[in-house]
């Protein structure tokens, strides 16, 4: 019955969605803002990658918000996970091939991540993507060998420093430009060079480090949490109601 109802409503939703989308002007989208940004981006930000211009310059506040969402989600998850740490759980170490492969990938992932982050304003990529790759560089070896020590302390400081840098750059611009999060106080620089597009590369660096540290420590924390078959964990009674 419940499944039937869900199916029915899903179809209803699909129907209405098609009605709604059917009313949209495909092919001749009124993308005034998009168009204007494409036209003005290079002049305004000096970033070869227009997406970066949008993400960090035009809509820097959104990016800060997204970054914070990640941060607070990781914090909340950590709060829930950590509290259940009664016993110490260690999963078994992976086989030789996996271990060796993971260790081998570490430098490559690190370099790839750094590249993606630093060239965010020039080529596709940037802080989020690079950050995820950086995180992977750290947690892949960790997953292969869960017993390995995890640099929680260092991660926390990187995370805090990177996040603070992102905001402090924004606050700093108040004194230079009079506006919060105005990234152009360093000048647009020479188009297409690594050092160009104002503070965008710096912002991306901060963003990438923050995301990387965040995701890395999140995965590490979950991996370190006890499993349900570990002793000393009481199953919440109400879990069955859900």
């Amino acid at each position: 019955m419940r499944q039937f109802a869900s199916l029915l409503f899903l179809f209803g939703f699909a129907f209405f969605l098609s009605v709604l989308v059917g009313g949209l002007p495909f092919g001749a989208a009124p993308m005034q803002v998009g168009q204007a940004i494409v036209e003005q981006n290079i002049e305004a930000t000096g970033a070869a990658n227009a997406v970066t211009g949008v993400l960090l310059a035009f809509r820097g506040m959104d990016t800060l918000g997204e970054l914070t969402i990640l941060f607070v989600a990781a914090t909340a998850a950590g709060m829930v996970v950590e509290r259940r740490k009664h016993g110490v759980s260690r999963d078994s170490v992976a086989g030789f091939i996996l271990l060796a492969g993971a260790e081998l990938m570490f430098p490559f992932l690190l370099i790839l991540g750094a590249y993606v982050i630093l060239h965010g304003h020039l080529t596709p990529g940037g802080g989020f993507q690079g950050g995820a790759i950086l995180a992977a560089a750290f947690f892949v070896p960790f997953l292969a060998n869960p017993g390995r020590a995890f640099q929680g302390h260092a991660m926390a400081f990187v995370e805090a420093f990177a996040g603070a840098t992102f905001i402090l750059l924004g606050i700093f611009s108040i004194f230079r430009e009079g506006d919060f999060m105005a990234p152009m106080f360093l000048g647009t620089g020479e188009f297409g060079q690594l050092v160009s597009a104002g503070s965008l590369p710096l912002l991306y660096l901060a963003l990438g480090l923050k995301v990387g540290a965040e995701l890395g420590s999140l995965v590490a924390e979950i991996a370190a949490a006890p499993g349900s078959d570990d002793p000393l964990i009481e199953e919440p009674q109400a879990a069955k109601d859900l």
Binding site: R2, A5, S6, F9, L10, G12, F13, F16, V19, L20, D241, L242
Partner: protein
């Protein structure tokens, strides 16, 4: 200093504040008596200013509405009664009763002061918004007064509250509707706007406001809350509430029916199918309100409940009188407000005194108290004669005026209905006084004494008022005329002893004098003719050939009027009761359903359903 409405309100609220702070002090009752007396004095001083309206300097601006207050003749009339009732209730509670008779004298004094202040605010309202504010304050203040005794009183008060809130919200809906439609809320503005509105709108407003005000007045069929709520209140509280609280509903109905709509417009409002007009409808509802609760009162076995059921019925006379519309009828209806307040207060105070001494108001467990509490007996005797509407008490005058007005206007059927109500009243008040004061004294009551002066004082004082205004109704008619002219009716031609109309006069001075003379002659004959009576002990008595022992009492109180009650069979009340129960059950079911809805775990489906249905609704 010239007394003004401000001074009055300041005294009322000052009293409230004082009672909040010092209500536990033994002198609190005395203090509040003084303050009520002062309020009464201010009211009397205000009398000349009423013609232009005694405005208050109190004013607020809220959301573009200005709230201000002004006392007019009608409000003044009700205010006098309010303050008077409060004075006597406070007197009753000031002494011994206040110390031991209630769980907390503080609560009584505070709630009494709050009630008076709220009622004065209501009576001094100059627009519908201030009226509504006063209305709600009166409702909640009344609730606070009723819950004091705890126990069954809590349940009764709860019922009152539900009715009161529902009625208040009906008024609120009407007020907002008027504000949106008329663009203003001032009484004069609304009265000026009313003639132009459509019949449907008029019915809607009359229904909403009529229900709202009618609930407060316990008008049929919204009467079920009142008896219990008043009956369960402590003595002086019941006296105050019974005397004046539900008259606020009458005040509202008068503004609605007479001032806003006008009796002439009521005549034009025809009911569909039946062909009756709205005025006749209201009058018949009043008549039913007189009859049915009065006969329910008959079968009560708790004295306070009996009185409370009576209170419902008496309200019917007041509205009936005013709706007649002639000078005599309006004066009779309004005079009944005053008269009723005096004797109803006495009755509740006497029962308060009886409960204070015996601990019960159950009619089967009392009897013969006349030898122990003679002053209370005298007070009750005066009051029940008033309630029954017999000469020489004031109740007779006002009822007589209503009867006469009904006959003069050619409404004999309503006259008969009103008289049937009086018949029921006579029967039930006889049951009351018999079962409490007459008959045999019960063993456990042999040691009790009359209540102290602080309690019999107000009773006797009030019952003297009952007598004096019966003897000289012109005194009360002075007050009534202020209200009557303020409502826009012509003044009645009256004098100290009664009134003069084209079709006949009434002079109570003559009537009562003759009555007293007759009684004097009778007493003289009795005394001069050699007193043949013999004093016997109460238990020196027999029935069916058997002497009665001290264990077996011969008491008539049980199943009083059993035959009559079988005859009238209260089927109508059962219907309303069932309806009430049905609504309660429906609410419970819906509540359980809603609770269940919020406990279901499959919320995403609900959300999806809401989205889809919402899209379907608006697209």
């Amino acid at each position: 200093m010239i007394p003004s409405l401000d001074l009055l309100l300041a005294l009322a609220f000052g009293n409230l504040g004082l009672m909040l702070l010092a209500g536990r002090n033994p002198t609190a009752g005395l203090l509040s008596m003084i303050l009520y007396a002062l309020q009464g004095w201010v009211l009397v001083m205000l009398m000349p200013a009423l013609a232009e309206g005694a405005a208050s300097g109190l004013a607020f601006q809220v959301f573009g509405w200005s709230l201000s207050w002004e006392l007019n003749g009608l409000g003044w009339f009700f205010a006098i009664i309010t303050v008077g009732a409060a004075f006597f209730s406070a007197w009753f509670a000031a002494g011994a009763w206040g110390v031991q008779g209630t769980r907390s004298p503080w609560a009584f004094h505070v709630t009494l002061a709050a009630n008076v202040a709220a009622m004065l605010l209501l009576l001094a309202s100059r627009d519908l918004l201030t009226l509504f504010i006063g209305w709600e304050l009166v409702t909640w203040a009344g609730y606070a007064m009723m819950i004091q005794s705890g126990g069954p009183a809590t349940r009764a008060a709860y019922k009152y509250l539900i009715y009161g809130v529902a009625g208040g919200l009906a008024v609120l809906a009407a007020v907002v509707l008027i504000q949106v439609q008329a663009g203003g809320l001032g009484f004069a503005a609304v009265a000026a706007w009313m003639p132009g509105i459509s019949t449907g709108m008029l019915w809607a407003l009359m229904l909403l406001l009529g229900v709202g005000f009618g609930i407060k007045m316990a008008f049929l069929p919204f009467h079920r809350w009142q008896a219990e709520a008043y009956g369960e209140s402590p003595g002086p509280a019941a006296a105050f509430l019974g005397a004046i609280s539900s008259r606020m509903g009458l005040f509202g109905l008068l503004i609605l029916l007479v001032h806003f709509i006008g009796l002439a417009r009521l005549d034009e409002l025809l009911l569909p199918l039946i062909g009756l007009d709205a005025r006749i409808l209201w009058m018949w509802l009043s008549a039913l309100t007189i009859i049915i609760p009065t006969f329910i009162a008959l079968k009560q076995n708790d004295a306070r409940m009996l009185l409370a059921w009576h209170g419902i019925g008496q309200g019917g006379y007041m509205l009936l009188g005013v709706l007649v519309g002639s000078e005599l009828g309006v004066a009779g209806g309004l005079l009944h407000v005053f008269n009723y307040a005096t004797y109803q207060a006495v009755l509740f105070l006497v029962m308060g005194a009886v409960v204070y001494r015996t601990g019960t108001a159950h009619l089967d467990r009392l009897g013969g108290l006349i030898t122990r509490m003679p002053l209370s007996y005298v007070a009750m005797l005066f009051a029940i004669i008033g309630l029954a509407g017999l000469p020489p008490m004031n109740g007779f005058v006002s009822k007589w005026m209503v009867y006469k007005a009904l006959l003069d206007e050619g409404l004999p059927l309503l006259f008969v209905a009103a008289v049937i109500g009086t018949l029921g009243t006579i029967l039930s008040v006889f049951k009351l006084i018999h079962n409490v004061f007459l008959g045999q004294l019960r063993v456990e009551h042999e040691q009790i004494r009359e209540v102290p002066f602080s309690m019999w004082g107000p009773m006797i004082a009030l019952s003297l008022i009952v007598f004096i205004t019966g003897y000289m109704p012109g005194l009360a008619l002075d007050l009534v005329m202020v209200a009557q002219t303020s409502l826009g009716f012509a003044a009645l031609d009256y004098h100290l002893g009664g009134f003069v109309t084209d079709t006949g006069n009434l002079n109570m001075l003559a009537v009562v004098s003759v009555l007293l003379l007759g009684m004097g002659i009778g007493a003289g004959i009795f005394l001069l003719g050699g007193n043949k009576s013999k004093r016997v002990h109460q238990l020196d008595n027999y029935a069916g050939g058997h002497f009665l022992t001290t264990e077996v009492r011969y008491h008539y109180s049980h199943h009083f009027y059993a035959g009559l009650l079988r005859l009238i069979g209260p089927w109508y009340i059962t219907l309303i009761k069932r309806l009430e129960g049905g609504i309660a059950a429906l609410t419970d079911t819906l509540a359980a359903g809603s609770d269940g809805l919020y406990r279901t775990a499959y919320t995403p489906i609900l959300m999806l359903a809401a989205t889809v249905l919402g899209l379907a609704l608006v697209l």
